[in-house]
Subunit: 421 residues, 2 copies
């Protein structure tokens, strides 16, 4: 899975980046909201003293370390800088289904210096859709929205607290329309009509640019910012339909809680597993970091690899636990070298081969292969190879014998029926 | 580099294993010596209170987590269990050349239940030698010794403190023969003759089994344990010479500080970079862990990937920072979709392609490719592809054009001359 992601990201021109797992606590604390989840580090032998060493913690996402990296290396990078980063992150949360304290994230970001063309907001979800497609895990949908659409629309409704309205709308799936309306009116000070209009916008969804834009315009609100947002959202849907139909869908209730998004926002679902929640998201931000007068606007999207995998594994037929295709039997310990040589000949042609642990009776050696799911056993004396599943045994030359393609690598199969195709 | 290691280990029947980075402190503390280097974890929001949560820390090697894994899963594993594990580990040491606080190790181990055949002590260094060979980093040598040889020899000399003698001999490279002799006599209570005989043994080295065994026997000591050790060491050298001449060398001063080795021990050097110290090591141990009456003897060998890489990178010509082979130019923003399609056609055939960030003048787009080391720029209008290194430009079809093999992936080349071949 990670190899497939890597491959797609590299095919699209993203540089691999790996940052250290440990950052200064002051770096990690810049995003206030999650800081309580940070694991701080201390050395056992000076656990009492708050020594002069910098206070350290484990990163809880890949965005904060990436921002630190960009600031430290801005003089050496070629902008727009496209990087992917697949690493573990740690959060001190209560573990539950789909939530882990240690998990792997895969992030792609494009960061510009001072400016970043809009088209990257179109490119990134399409790259991620292609990456998800390569995993052969069933259908995923990247739901998109644009902050400018919401903010422009709220402006047009004379709603003062745009951020608060977004945050309330973000709760739609959790507390329903009535709950959101109540927050908007009671806490946000919106009129009933303003709240209803905000919900009208949030109800709109669709894959077709023209259709979505018409639905929004039918609500009768118009501002400059809304028009910019609709134009961007339209461009994204148009390119998506031309390139990868069905992969991307406008869902105007998608708000993404974080304040720093300023344009497109993304949230990814695994179809048939919507209860798992978002398997990834992201969006456009106007400033990842600043260095003096320079700012670094960007757009990023990530996948929660562990969350996705945890669900897939629950319904998977996992292949054998070793890559081994052939177990070479050993007739007697004094003849082990001959078995080693056969294994080496197979490996030289890319066929993973192991040699039996002991020169036990052949029946026991076959049983060892069977317990590991190794499909073939090779008998060195008369160069016979046996498919232990069918029992078929043929004479073969270790310098030329080919394993069937389907047996060359262990493959996990996500079970039919559980996983929509 | 990691892909090559993985590939070799899987070709030899090792299962991939990844354990969490975090272990209970009590698990990590079982090996007393390194516990002071452990990074303990705490949650920021309860930093004051030693709450009832288990005390946690980051693993400092891959052996301790592996032992924990084997104990937890012994009922489900097929023994002998062969696993490889390539992960980061953390140690709170003072950083210096070749020593890091966060670094990657690659370990292979074979663990049996109650018993483990000797031949794995021969197999493992040969697998690691093959893996190192696959990295194309110049010559490495795995130096081997056998604890039974040393212990049997010391027994024959009536040396009581075998472990203390081993620890002193282990300091040979640091403090020289005189220093070791002084420790042996002053602290260990050896006679001058005993100390000299121990040093005689430590001076022996060679690749040829017969030659090494003759050198040891010429010292006139004979015990049962020594004979067992010599037989094992001889078998290892004989198989190594038959399989991979030059990769393995007996060096009888190799002691490895750790007490738990009981048979073969290994220490790997990068030829021409002996000053870097050992780039990896390992050996045979009689008990990785115990579960009730069961014990799990094993043999393992590891490489310090980061240490190795830090030295290699110091003299490397590193390839371009992206996999991108082709930058597709953009004539105007309204024609970006056409450039996207060309890039998609190239990617579909495994050629990494990026699309120019903006529809700037072609000269500027070429400069962008050049700054990233991307070798080719594609002009969409008349489908021309230009090798920007030679300036050569030809007409080409994105559905059939092939990039030269040498340009398909960025490759790091360890500089000739610095790296012996």
């Amino acid at each position: 899975m990670l190899d497939s992601l890597r491959r797609t990201f590299e095919l699209h021109g993203f540089s691999p980046l790996e940052t250290r797992a440990v950052e200064k606590l002051e770096t990690l604390a810049k995003k206030g909201e999650t800081s309580k989840e940070v694991y701080a580090l201390s050395r056992i032998h000076d656990v009492k003293s708050d020594s002069s060493d910098a206070q350290l913690g484990l990163h809880f996402d890949l965005t904060v370390p990436f921002a630190r990296f960009v600031v430290e290396n801005s003089g050496h990078l070629v902008f727009p800088f496209k990087r992917y980063q697949i690493q573990k992150v740690w959060r001190g949360e209560r573990p539950q289904e789909g939530r882990f304290r240690e998990f792997v994230q895969a992030d792609i970001d494009v960061v510009g210096q001072d400016t970043l063309p809009f088209h990257y907001e179109v490119d990134l979800p399409l790259v991620m859709a292609e990456a998800l497609d390569s995993l052969d895990i069933g259908q995923t949908i990247i739901q998109v929205n644009n902050r400018k659409v919401c903010e422009g629309f709220y402006e047009g409704l004379q709603i003062a607290d745009v951020a608060g309205t977004l945050r309330a709308v973000d709760k739609l799936d959790k507390i329903g329309e009535e709950g959101v309306a109540r927050i908007l009116v009671d806490d946000g000070g919106l009129s009933a009509q303003q709240a209803e209009a905000a919900l009208d916008l949030a109800r709109i969804s669709g894959e077709d640019a023209k259709d979505v834009l018409e639905q929004v315009r039918a609500l009768g609100v118009s501002t400059e910012l809304l028009e910019v947002g609709l134009s961007e959202l339209g461009d994204l849907l148009t390119e998506a339909q031309a390139t990868r139909p069905g992969a991307i869908r406008a869902v105007l209730k998608i708000a993404r809680g974080l304040d720093y998004y300023t344009g497109s926002v993304y949230e990814t679902l695994l179809v048939g597993h919507e209860d798992l929640g978002s398997i990834g998201g992201g969006g456009r931000y106007d400033s990842l970091a600043t260095v003096g007068k320079r700012s670094f606007p960007g757009v990023g999207i990530s996948i929660g690899v562990t969350r996705l995998l945890s669900r897939l594994l629950a319904s998977a037929e996992v292949g054998r636990p070793v890559a081994t295709v052939v177990l070479v039997a050993v007739a007697s310990e004094s003849e082990r070298h001959a078995s080693n040589e056969i294994a080496a000949q197979l490996r030289a042609r890319g066929i993973a081969a192991d040699v039996a642990p002991t020169a036990a009776k052949f029946g026991k050696q076959i049983r060892h292969a069977d317990r590991l799911g190794i499909p073939f056993v090779w008998f060195p004396g008369d160069n016979q190879v046996k498919d232990i599943r069918s029992g078929e045994q043929v004479e073969a030359d270790p310098r030329t014998w080919q394993a069937p393609d389907k047996d060359l690598y262990p493959v996990a199969r996500w079970r039919q029926g559980d996983m929509p195709s």
